[in-house]
Structures are given as C-alpha cells and as structure tokens.
C-alpha cells in the first residue's frame, strides 16, 4: 500500500465515521439543548450560582452572561498562572520556576485558553504545573468549548423562534453542554487514548539514558485526559510543547485518526442540530454540504501540495518529510494540518513552518476562511450561518424579494450585525500583521523574506481566528507579541460573539414569513455552491495581496 492510497483510506474512513456522528451525535446534541428536564446535579449547580433555569434571556442578557462568565474565567486563570508556584501539585520543576510565567505570558495564556484559542507561547511540560494543566487549562478547555456551542445554539434559536426575541438561558446551555456532552465523550476518548499509549499519571518525570549516552528528562502528567478535550473542544492546547507530534500525546497512526475524528465530530454534528431546531433537516444538510465541500477541497489540496512537494529539500530527499513525524508520514500529517485549521483547534502533529510554500498556505487559508469548514465547536456553525445570511442577502435580491432566510427577513439590522461580524477578524489579522512589520517586532523571527512574512501573517491569522496553531519561527514570548496576540484573541473571540447574539436577537424578534415559490430555496445545491463561493471569494479578495507577498511569492 503506497502513501497515497493509505492517505485516501485514512480520509474516507474519517468521512464515514463523521457521517455517523452527524446523525447520531447531532440528534443527541439536539435533545440536550432542547430538553426541559434538569438532572439533580444541574439543579444543584443552578442553585449554587443563583440561576433560575426556566428564565429565558434576551440577546443582551445572553451576551452579558457570556462576557461575565468569560471575564471571571480570565481573571481566575490569570491569577492561577501567576500563583502556581505557591500551590501544590508542582512536582515537575525545580524551585523558582514561577519566573517563567511572566505577567505578559500569563495574560496571553489566560486569554488564549478562555477564548478557545490555545495559542501557547510556552512549553507546557516545562512551564506549567500539573495542577494548572488540569484544574486551570483543562477546565477552560471544557467551558470555552461549551461557550462556543452555546452561542451557536442561541443563534439557531434566533432562526427557530419568533416574535419574542428570547434566546434561551446561557447558564443552562453552558452546564448541559459541559456535563452531558463534553465530559462523557472526553472520558471515553481519554480511555481510548490511554489504550493507544498516551500517558496519564502524576509522575514528576523519569530520567533515562539515551542511545548516545546522554540523559533525558521524560515528563509525565495527566496527558490523555487533557488530550481528549483538547481535540473534542477544538482547543488545541497540548500538554507538551510539540503538541500532537509528541508520542505521549499521540502515540500512533490510529490515535492520530481518533484525534482528527474528535476534532471534527462536534463541529460536524452541529448543522444537524440546526436542521432539527429549525424543523427542516434539509437546511442542516445544506450547511454541512458547504462545510464538507470546503473541507474536502482543502484537505485534498494540502495533500497534493505536500505529496508532490516542490522545493529544494523535498526534491532532494524524495518527500516533504521535513518537520513531519515518520509515525504519520506526509499524507496523515497534511490531513491533520488541514483538520486542525479547518476547525479552530490549532493542535499540530507536524511543523507547518516546514511545509512546502503552497502546502503551508493551505492551513493559513483555512483559518482565513473564518474557520467555518466545519470550524471550531459552535464557532464554525455560527460563522457559517453568518456567511449564509450575507449570501442570502445578495442572492435574495437577485430573486426579487426582500431577502429572507428560514422565513426571517434579512434587513438593515441583520446585515449590520453580519457585516460587522465578517469585518472583525480580517481587520485584526491585517492590522496586527502590518503593526508587527511596521514596528519592527518581526525581528524576533528566524526567517526573513516571503517565508518570514508568512510566519508573521500566520501568527496573527491564528490568534485572531482563535485557532492557536503556529507556523513557528518567531519568538513570541515577548511583551509585544504576547500583548498583541492576546488582544487579537480576545477581540477575535468576543466581538464576533456579540454580533452573533445581536443577529440572533433581531431574528428571534421577527415573525416568520411562510415560504413560497418566490422564496429563495436555501437547501438546494445552487445555494450550497453559492455559499461556498461567497466564503472563498470574500476571503480571497481580502487576503490575496497579503498571500501574494508570502506563500505565493515563495511558491509560484
């Protein structure tokens, strides 16, 4: 079996597994967010935080709840990181380790995990204590993912409900998604990963003699459990610095498959929830079709660019193996790279900086798409629905009616929220990159020229889109980089969320218009193709000059 056919089988089996997830996980998620019963544990939690689970929230209240929860999370995690030396469960390190988590790194890391970005300007195994990894970072892995899903569900409720402007209850959504979805699936996944060879212990490390006679400090920790939610919640913050390339995190080809499946399963299942909630499964199929087309095209292109890698080194050694692990090979690495950037995961199992110029452009392009194919948990669905709203607006005009999506009119207010949503991330990416170049802060990087430019562009694209993967090549743990990227992550997460909830609120307040032959059908192939086209064209138009100066200058 050659590498190409192995790669094809890898991808095809994933697609089949994800089709199953779409249907069954989707239906399960639908029941979780639509049900009216509360478990005893949940009721206890609501009582503890003083929330009436039956109270509905308007978009303003929902948004304030999201922001308040995230602000508290941010402060808590920041304090945790600064104080980790004084807390227990600190077996890995010699004393004085706290100097490593400077104020700017603590800010950057706290923002990074609260925003579901998991950009890591540090090495996990040598910087964070077990307690911080498990009780700080992993907790955020759960709840930041739940926040994303909750916001997506709130937007879908905007489409599904009418006249009252109510979007559900954030605290209920957050609790249910965490307890009923993320925790159980993570538990199962962690056990599978342990079975596959990922480590899960409290060891303070083992010193081994290497073949060359040197000594190596092998660190352990609660790796498998953190790994499970890292992928399931499309977080991407690894226990180890090299992330999923580390054999303790991702031991083999089949755990690699499992990790990619975990990355995709919730984002892929959410369009089903959309279809169920708006009482028209075809709408869900249309959205997943757009996501699928973009994802498959992207995975295929990344594979093509890498397998037929142009460039001096790949030509010399016969394959683009630089920066890739032989456990995975070219194809599975390329697929992982596409998967991690098509979603907002940002975990890596190979070094994107070492990819061929065009192969390295693909992860960047995936993020620039706004991570909508299928995107981060929740964020992918709401991003795609916003694009669909913009598409409906232009397409709706072309059929001669005030545009409407699922019976909801897309007027000035809706377009305002959708346009602002769409504007925020490109603005952060472009302004950030320009600022890094104009201020001379690019000088902390190893490469110059088009490749060096790509590294800067990638960093801001990753942070602003809450991806968290890095091209590498830049020393980012400096006050400027930590602050700038932290701002991009924060604004790139919460400004769009406010726009989404605003959009949801104004949709939920409308009464629906019944569909007729004059209504633009939003479940047909034509619409699917048009949404996909709008995503690609809008992104291409925004980023083409920047891409021309980076990967295109290098790779054409």
């Amino acid at each position: 079996m050659n590498t190409t056919s192995a790669g094809v089988i890898f991808v095809l089996s994933l697609i089949v597994a994800l089709a199953v997830a779409y249907r069954y996980l989707g239906d399960y998620l639908y029941r979780v967010v639509s049900g009216s019963k509360h478990s005893a544990v949940e009721r206890g939690l609501y009582r503890a935080i003083g929330v009436n689970p039956a109270a509905e929230q308007t978009w303003g209240t929902y948004a304030r709840s999201v922001l308040a929860f995230s602000a508290v999370s941010l402060l808590f995690l920041y304090a945790f990181l600064r104080l980790q030396d004084f807390l227990f469960a600190n077996p890995n390190f010699e004393t004085g380790i706290n100097e490593r988590v400077f104020d700017h790194l603590a800010w950057n890391t706290a923002v990074s995990f609260v925003t579901n970005t998991n950009w890591q300007a540090y090495s996990g195994e040598s910087t964070m204590t077990h307690l911080v990894q498990a009780a700080g970072l992993s907790v955020q892995n759960f709840v930041s993912a739940a926040v994303g899903i909750a916001v997506a569900v709130a937007l879908v409720r905007g489409f599904a409900r009418s006249r009252n402007g109510q979007l559900g209850n954030f605290w209920v959504d957050l609790t249910r998604i965490t307890l009923r979805v993320l925790l159980p699936i993570s538990a199962v996944a962690a056990i599978l990963l342990i079975a596959g060879g990922a480590v899960q212990n409290f060891t303070d490390g083992t010193v081994v003699s290497t073949l060359t006679g040197g000594e190596q400090h092998l660190t352990g920790g609660l790796v498998a459990s953190q790994e499970a939610i890292k992928e399931l919640g499309t977080n991407g913050g690894g226990f180890y610095n090299v992330n999923s390339a580390h054999p303790f995190e991702n031991p083999s080809a089949w755990t690699n498959w499992l990790q990619i499946f975990l990355i995709f399963c919730i984002p892929v299942a959410l369009p089903r929830v959309f279809g169920r909630m708006v009482k028209d499964n075809r709408q869900g199929y249309a959205i997943i079709a757009v996501m699928g087309i973009l994802a498959i095209a992207s995975i295929a292109l990344t594979n093509v660019f890498e397998l037929h890698g142009a460039g001096t080194v790949p030509m010399a050694i016969g394959a683009a193996m630089e920066g890739k692990d032989i456990r995975f090979g070219v194809s599975d690495s390329a697929t992982f790279a596409a998967a991690t950037t098509l979603t907002s995961t940002g975990a890596v199992n190979s070094f994107h900086d070492s990819y061929t110029a065009l192969g390295g452009m693909m992860p960047m392009f995936n993020m620039m798409l706004g991570e909508v194919a299928p995107g981060g948990v929740g964020a992918g669905l709401y991003g795609m629905l916003v694009i669909a709203v913009i598409t409906v607006f232009v397409a709706g005009l072309m059929v001669g009616r005030t545009p409407e999506y699922l019976g909801k009119k897309i007027g000035a207010r809706e377009i305002k929220f959708a346009s602002l949503y769409f504007l925020i991330t490109p603005a952060l990416v472009l302004i950030g990159t320009a600022a890094a170049l104009a201020s001379g802060n690019w000088r902390t990087q190893a490469n110059v020229g088009p490749h060096g430019f790509s590294e800067v562009l990638y960093a801001f694209t990753s942070a602003s889109n809450n991806n968290g993967s890095a091209f590498g090549g830049i020393t980012v743990n400096t006050p400027w980089w930590d602050t700038a990227l932290g701002l991009c992550m924060l604004l790139g997460r919460f400004l769009p969320i406010i726009m989404v909830l605003g959009l949801a609120g104004s949709l939920a307040a409308q009464k629906p218009t019944p569909a007729s032959a004059g209504t633009l059908p939003t479940h047909q192939p034509l619409f699917v193709a048009m949404v996909a086209g709008v995503v690609v064209i809008l992104v291409a138009l925004t980023f083409l000059p920047a891409l021309a100066l980076g990967p295109l200058a290098e790779g054409l």
């Binding site: 232009v394 072309m398 603005a427 032959a517 000059p545």
Partner: protein, 700 residues
C-alpha cells in the same frame, strides 16, 4: 376607463439610453461633485477622497502615469453622478409638465354654503373644509370631494388621458383633484387638502425625488457595501508596511513606478483601493432606485414612498376585486336553455324580443347572443310596447298585439306564469338550480298568447365573463409564489365557479369591507404581505392596512389618502405590473452587486503582479492576461472600472430583464449572467483596454 387585461403585459423597459440625455445631465453631474452631497454615498465618497489625494500627489510629483490615473479617478466619480443625474432628469421633465397644471387659480368660495353667495379668493388660501363651486370652464382650485352636482372633468393634466371623466356627489366617484378642469355642468366641492399639500404638490415632489428617502433594503445594501469598502480600505492600508518589508528584503531589486524604497506609491495604492471597492453598484445604486419609481410613473402609478415599491416585490397575497379586475364589468348571456318542448330558436326569438329595449349590458348581450347563435336580426320595434324592469316586478318584457313576453328572476316570472293560468313544469326549477350552482344567473323567459295559458319557454344563462388571459396571469403569479384571492359580493357558489374559471387560488364571497380588513389582518398575522386595490371610501381601512394599497384615481379622496399608491389610469389589473416592477428593482440591485464584487478578481490579477513582480518575479505568474507593463495594467484596471459604470447606466435605468418564474430559476439565470459574467467580463475588458493604452507613447 376600464382597460382590458391583455395577454402580453407591457414589457418593463424604457428602451435604450439616449446619449443626449448623458450630455444634458453633465452639468448636474458636475454639480454633484460637491462632497457635501456625495457624503450620502460612502463608496463614491471614498473614490472622491482618493481622487483629491491623487491630484495632490500628481501635482507634487507629476508624471504621465499619475495624471492619467487622476483623470480617470475623477471620471469615475463624474460617471457615478451622471447615472444619478440622468435618472433624476426623467422625473424633472415630468415635474415640469405637472407644474403647468398648478397655475394660480381663483376659487369661488361659498362661505355660507348651502347659501350660494360667492367670494373669490386665491386658491392657495383655501383651507380644509372650505366649500367652493366650479362651473364649466373653471379649473378646480384644490383637492376635494363633490358634495353636490355632477360634472364631466378633464383630468388630462394629471393622468395624460384626454377623455373626460364623470365626477358626482356621493358614491365612489366623488373625488376631484386640484388643477383639473370642469368641462360641463356645475359641482360644489368640499376641499379636503391642507394648503400646499395638494395631490399635484405631492406628485411633483415624488417624480422629482426631492426628498427621496432611502428604502429599508437600500439601507441594508448600503451597510453591506460600506463594510466591504472598510475591508478593502484595510487591505490596502495594511499593504504598505508589508510592501516595505518585502522591498527591504529584496533591496537589490530595481524601483518600479509602483514600488520604491518608501513602499508603494500613493497613486498606486489609491488605484488598488478604487479598483477593489464596489464602485459599480455604489455608483448606480441611487439611479436604480430613482429609475424604479420612474418606471411606475411611466405606467401612471404614483408610489407615495420607495418603501411601497419594495414591498410590492415582496407581496405574498394579492387581493383582487372580481368585477372589473377579473371579470368584465357585467354579466353576459352565454346560452339559451329551452324547456318543455320549446324550440331553442323560439326561446332565442322571445328572449331577443323582450330585450330589444333593454339598455343594460345584460340586455344587450342577450340580443347579441341571439343574433350570433340563431342569426336573429334586430327588427322593427314599431308596434311593440316595452315593459321596463322595476324593483317590484323584478322582470321586464314586451307586449305585442295578442302576445306578452316576460323575462326576469325565476320566482317573479313563475309567479307571472301562474297568475296567467299557466302551470310551470319542474324542469324550469332544475335548469335554474343548475345554472345557479354553476355560478351563473338564470333569467326565465315566459310568454302568454291571448286565449292560451301562459308557459315558460326556457332559461337564459347569464354569466360573468372572465377577462382574457387572466388564467395565464394567475399561473404566472403562482410561479412567482404569489397567492391570488378574489374578492366578491356574490354568494359563495357563484364566487367559487368564477374563481375556478379564472384560476385564482382562493376567494372571499359575500365580502363586506370588514371581511376584507379581517382577511388582510389574518394574512399579515401569518407573516404574509398583502397587496390590494380599492376605490371606495369603505375600502379605505383595508387600503391602509394592506402593505401595498393601490387606490384608483377615480376613487374617493379617503381611498387615495389611505393607499400608498395611486393608479391614475384606475386599472385594477395594474397591481400585477406593480409587483413585477418591485421585483425588478430588487433584482437589479442584487445583480449589479454580484457583478461589482465578481469584477474584483480580474482586477487583482492585473494589479498585484504590477505592484510586486519587481520584488518577487514569481508573481509575474499571476499576470495571466499578459498585460503589457505594470503601468498599462494599473491604468487599464482603472479605466475599465470607470467605463463599466457608463456601460451599465442603461441597465440600471431599465432594470434587468424580468420574466415571472420561480426563485430557483431566477437565481440560476442571474448568477450565470451577473456572477460568472462579472468574473469573465473584466478579464476581457482590461486586456482590450491594455492593448489600446500600450499604444500611447511613453506609457508602456
């Protein structure tokens, strides 16, 4: 005034743009270069700022390249203004005609009406509630209702229709409009307008677009366009440090016209920005809106707001009055059904005889049908004594020597037969019931010959005649997703029969104004938009409630006040055209937006290699159009960008072609033409312009 619905509706379109129009509108276009007026259009305002900035740069650092770009940037703004000026120009001509009607007139006020002593006052001084008198030759001094008398009025000043119309007190034809002229008789009018707010004043303001408000949809589109402009502004502004970084790294690369040590030249940055922002749709957006209103004016429909025109495109339910809209005004004889062994010829003969003096349309149609089917000529009426219809007898007829013929409502005629000693058969009852249940009106014909018993001859079947082509129109509506509901005062049985024949989706029988209002409310409750026409005062609440209420110009002023459109031709079928114009307006906007954005792809392929192939030769690979040089490439892109505006002005004014069909079909068609066309056209256009520009010495 009733216009027959034709099978081929007037095609929406106003022919090609007259080049002289462009020339005549040029002064207006130049006047609009004032930034204070451009400010309302964010896209063109940015182009204006770019043009000013480039002019300064071209003065401080002159070059042929710089000046060519500057000239074409200014032309881009002028072309956009020209589009708007041309669209407004049409309305202005119309307004000038209307102003002639608004001459200073002297009103003959009756201060103590019903006393008839007159006071002459200036028409402009009239207040609401004043009573005036007009006689033949007088110009009506203001809008109002006739409260006494009847007169023929020449309304050509407003409607353009030269045939005089009748205006009389009471009923639904009582409204008169200031500026129209009384041709005969004398009427007393109660003024209903406030000073300075006459119908003509409002018409002038409307066609001139004096205080044109942006419609909701236009606002939404403007927000989208502004957002795109901001994104491209960011793309261009942030490109500068990126370019400086690239240039610094490739220090050995020679400076080009676009990229030097200090980065990209200002002229090139402005060019890229103007090429990317959606100038095509930005330039044409207001012209499309004005032209849409204008297309309605050309069809003699006055929309009181652009919002109403847009709503017309969204209509889900059309309420159409049966009489005059779906059917011809009156019932007509369709067949003769003889009974009890009578010969059909004999029945026809008797029916015709009884109707010879009957001047009602029904009566005329009986004479005509007998002539057509049985070749019975009209004959001498000498010696015949006609018995006219009265509400008491409910029948009419004719008395001949020794013979009497009667026709009329079944119960009345049967009673007459029995009174004259006859014994009507059951057969008559069956035939009458059959006709009634099919929606027709039965008229029974009977005769008595002296010395014999009276006998029923048979039944005339009168029925509503559905206008030609209505079924096709309603099928079209259905394809567009519009439900048609027929409103009639008939009983449900009759209504159903006509509804089936005409092909409407639903009907409301025995409708009262309250029923109509309730139906509209019910439809709106379900999220549907409703359009209707009306003319009577009792239609006013429904007209006001409907999303699109078209009042007939012949109607009462209450109706005209309540509706948001007035049809000067008073043709109820025009509602269908209004819907099409509303749709066409939105489609034109959507199509040109798509076209505008799709254009950007080709412009990138022209401008990016022109800017950066100097530092990164690999990027010359993006120059797939094989443009001559960086300078010609940038110039060509900017020239194309400006010319495409001029090229699309006729389309913006005329609207894109619209044929009623389903949303999927419309989208497919428009996507191919304006989406794919928008991608391909600039590749060809820019290449052609480049071939010409490269001939200019000193440029390439």
């Amino acid at each position: 005034m009733t216009t027959l619905a034709t099978t081929s509706p007037k095609k929406i379109g106003a022919g090609l743009l007259d080049p002289r129009m462009l020339w005549k509108s040029l002064p207006d276009a130049l006047r609009k270069l004032n930034p204070a007026s451009l400010w309302r259009n964010p896209v063109m305002f940015i182009v204006w700022v770019g043009a000013v900035f480039s002019t300064v740069l071209a003065i401080t650092d002159p070059s042929a390249f710089a000046w060519i770009i500057v000239v074409w940037l200014w032309l881009t703004v002028v072309f956009a203004n020209l589009a708007e000026a041309v669209a407004e120009g049409r309305g202005k001509a119309q307004a000038a005609t209307l102003r002639q009607a608004k001459k200073d007139t002297i009103a003959r006020k009756l201060p103590r009406w019903p006393a008839t002593d007159e006071v002459a006052i200036e028409a402009v001084a009239l207040k609401q509630g004043d009573v005036v008198v007009c006689e033949a030759g007088d110009t009506i001094p203001g809008d109002g209702d006739v409260i006494e008398g009847i007169a023929s009025v020449d309304e050509s000043a407003i409607t353009g229709e030269s045939a005089p119309v009748i205006r009389e007190s009471g009923g639904d034809r009582s409204a008169v409009t200031g500026g129209t002229k009384v041709l005969s008789d004398r009427i007393v009018i109660k003024i209903t307008q406030r000073p300075g707010e006459s119908f003509i004043d409002r018409m002038i303001a409307l066609v001139e677009g004096a205080n044109r408000q942006k419609t909701p949809n236009e606002i939404a589109l403007n927000i989208l366009l502004a957002s795109l402009t901001i994104i491209f502004l960011l793309t261009v502004v942030t490109l500068q440090p990126m370019a400086i970084y690239a240039k610094a790294w490739q220090g050995a690369a020679p400076d080009t016209i676009a990229l030097g040590q200090d980065g990209l030249s200002g002229i090139v940055l402005v060019s890229l920005l103007v090429a990317l922002i959606p100038t095509t749709i930005g330039a044409l957006l207001s012209a499309i809106g004005i032209a849409g209103m204008d297309r309605l004016v050309q069809r003699n429909v006055l929309a009181m707001s652009g919002r109403a025109v847009e709503a017309a495109g969204d209509v889900n339910t059309l309420l159409l009055d049966k009489t005059g809209t779906i059917t011809l005004g009156n019932r007509q004889a369709a067949e003769f059904l003889p009974v009890a062994g009578t010969d059909a010829q004999e029945l026809a003969n008797a029916a015709q005889l009884s109707s010879l003096a009957d001047e009602t349309p029904e009566g005329r149609s009986i004479v005509v049908l007998a002539k057509q089917q049985y070749n019975l000529r009209e004959r001498e009426t000498a010696g015949l004594l006609f018995v006219p219809f009265t509400a008491q007898t409910r029948m009419s007829g004719v008395d001949l020597p020794g013979r009497q013929v009667r026709k009329g409502a079944a119960t009345a005629v049967m009673k007459w037969v029995r009174d004259n000693g006859g014994h009507p058969t059951d057969e008559v009852g069956h035939v009458v019931d059959a006709i009634s249940s099919s929606g027709g009106t039965p008229l029974v014909v009977a005769e008595v010959v002296s010395g014999q018993q009276a006998r029923a001859l048979g039944v005339i079947h009168l029925k509503d005649v559905v206008k030609q082509g209505m079924r096709e129109r309603f099928d079209e509506m259905r394809r567009m997703g519009i439900r048609t509901v027929m409103i009639t005062g008939d009983n449900p049985l009759t209504a159903k029969a006509i509804a089936d024949e005409a092909g409407v989706d639903d009907f409301l029988a025995e409708a009262t104004p309250e029923d109509k209002l309730a139906l509209i409310r019910k439809e709106q409750e379900g999220g549907r938009l409703v359009a209707m026409t009306g003319d009577g005062t009792n239609d006013a609440p429904a007209l006001a409630q409907a999303d699109v209420g078209v009042a007939m110009n012949t109607g009462t002023s209450a109706a005209k006040e309540a509706g948001n459109m007035v049809d000067l031709d008073s043709d109820p079928t025009k509602l269908i055209e209004i819907v099409e114009i509303g749709k066409q307006l939105l489609i034109t906007r959507g199509a040109l937006t798509t076209f505008s954005i799709a254009n950007d792809i080709a412009k990138y392929f022209a401008i990016i290699p022109a800017m950066f192939a100097g530092v990164y030769p690999a990027l010359e690979g993006m120059n797939i159009m094989r443009l001559t040089s960086p300078t010609t490439a940038i110039i060509s892109a900017i020239i194309f960008n400006a010319l495409v505006i001029i090229a699309l002005i006729p389309l913006a004014l005329r609207g894109v072609r619209y044929t009623p069909s389903s949303a999927s079909k419309l989208l497919t068609r428009n996507l191919w033409i304006y989406g794919l066309g928008g991608i391909i056209a600039p590749f060809i256009g820019i290449k052609l312009i480049d071939m010409i520009v490269s001939l200019i010495p000193g440029i390439s």
